[in-house]
Amino acid sequence: MKEMKNRPFALIGVNSDGDLDKIRAIVKKKNLNWRSFQNKPKGAKNPISQDWAVRGWPTMVVLDEDMRIVYRGHNGNQAISKVKMLVKKLESSKDL
């Protein structure tokens, strides 16, 4: 994920464990340096996974610059290659 620094990309984790302290511990232990959520953040009406109809874990969703869904599935490698391609495309379109 280091290579994505300063590039138009964001990784957001949505954790589906119930226990907030446990999640914090894991995030700290694994040194996850990106934004993380509990599935049902404060103030949300429904769990995020419900609004997003997530029924299997892990699930990855890739969004383009207009928040359109470009990938949705369980294959991390596929999701990441999609991200790399899109980031490249977005950067080159900005250079023009």
Partner: protein
């Protein structure tokens, strides 16, 4: 573990955990405490099996490492078993059968029949599953506590075949006097097509219509939410559609909106640790 297997095991675990939650009418009845004992006995035996399995593998691994050090030829590691053999379940099945029998046609027997459904699924024993399924769809058909069984029938397609599993669901749909049970059974029967059939196929359209009918016939919010989620997942949360926003507070306490990231590529990772 394969993600689908993990999902199934997760669902089974949840069903197992919730089956003892049913609110007690007048303190915990005898049947309930017997069921709890049975489930806890099974859980403890399974935990023990897992532990032994892990120890066995650790020992093997240590032996292999030693052999490698000594320059000997190292045979490949055998795969780790994810589930015990069938005979592991037999004593638990026997106990549950006796208890179910002791309650005869009373609703108190249903918990044990559900336990037997689960044992049938886990030990891949058709007879155990079919006997319990028959008792539930005939003797206990008038009970309002059959929703969970409907969900177990849904997972039996691979064990007893789609026709047999659907036959049990049809029996609940046709003969249960409770709309919640009928709705759960309908949804269980059409879930497979709703999840997997192409959205432009007849199979999907028929499944969607039935799911909406199921949602409309009950006040059960769980069923309504599930139907909405299943359809949303196929029609609105798919490639090419604009994603719904997430508004909330992150783990560090900072307010956050997904739409703040508009203009960037976003990877959302739904994960869990289990």
């Amino acid at each position: 573990m394969h993600s689908r297997t993990r999902l199934l095991l997760g669902v089974l675990a949840i069903l197992m955990a919730t089956s003892s939650w049913l609110p007690a009418q007048e303190g915990p009845s005898k049947a309930k405490s017997q069921l709890k004992e049975l489930e806890e006995g099974m859980d403890a035996a399974y935990a023990k099996w897992r532990k032994e399995q892990k120890e066995k593998m650790a020992k093997l691994r240590a032996e292999q490492e030693k052999a490698k050090k000594d320059g000997q030829e190292v045979p490949p590691m055998p795969p780790m078993r994810m589930a015990p053999k069938e005979d592991f379940y037999l004593p638990h099945i026997e106990k549950a059968r006796k208890l179910a029998k002791s309650y005869g046609t009373s609703d108190d027997a249903i918990g044990f029949q559900k336990f037997l459904l689960m044992m049938g699924l886990r030990s891949r024993n058709k007879d155990v599953f079919n006997n319990a399924a028959k008792a539930i769809t005939t003797t206990h058909i008038a009970s309002d506590k059959l929703g969970e069984s409907a969900n177990l029938f849904m997972y039996a397609t691979r064990l007893v075949g789609k026709d047999v599993a659907n036959g049990y669901l049809r029996a609940l749909e046709t003969n249960s006097p409770h709309s919640q049970v009928r709705a759960t059974a309908i949804l269980a029967r059409v879930t497979e097509s709703l999840e997997n059939a192409g959205t432009d196929t007849m199979a999907y359209k028929a499944a969607k219509e039935e799911a909406l009918r199921a949602a409309a016939m009950t006040d059960d919010t769980d069923i309504k939410t599930r139907v909405k989620g299943l359809i949303d997942g196929r029609e609105n949360l798919v490639t090419g559609k604009v994603a719904p926003d997430i508004i909330g507070v992150d783990l560090d306490g900072t307010s956050f909106k997904l739409s703040d990231y508009k203009g960037k590529i976003v990877l959302l990772d739904f994960w869990g640790d289990w």
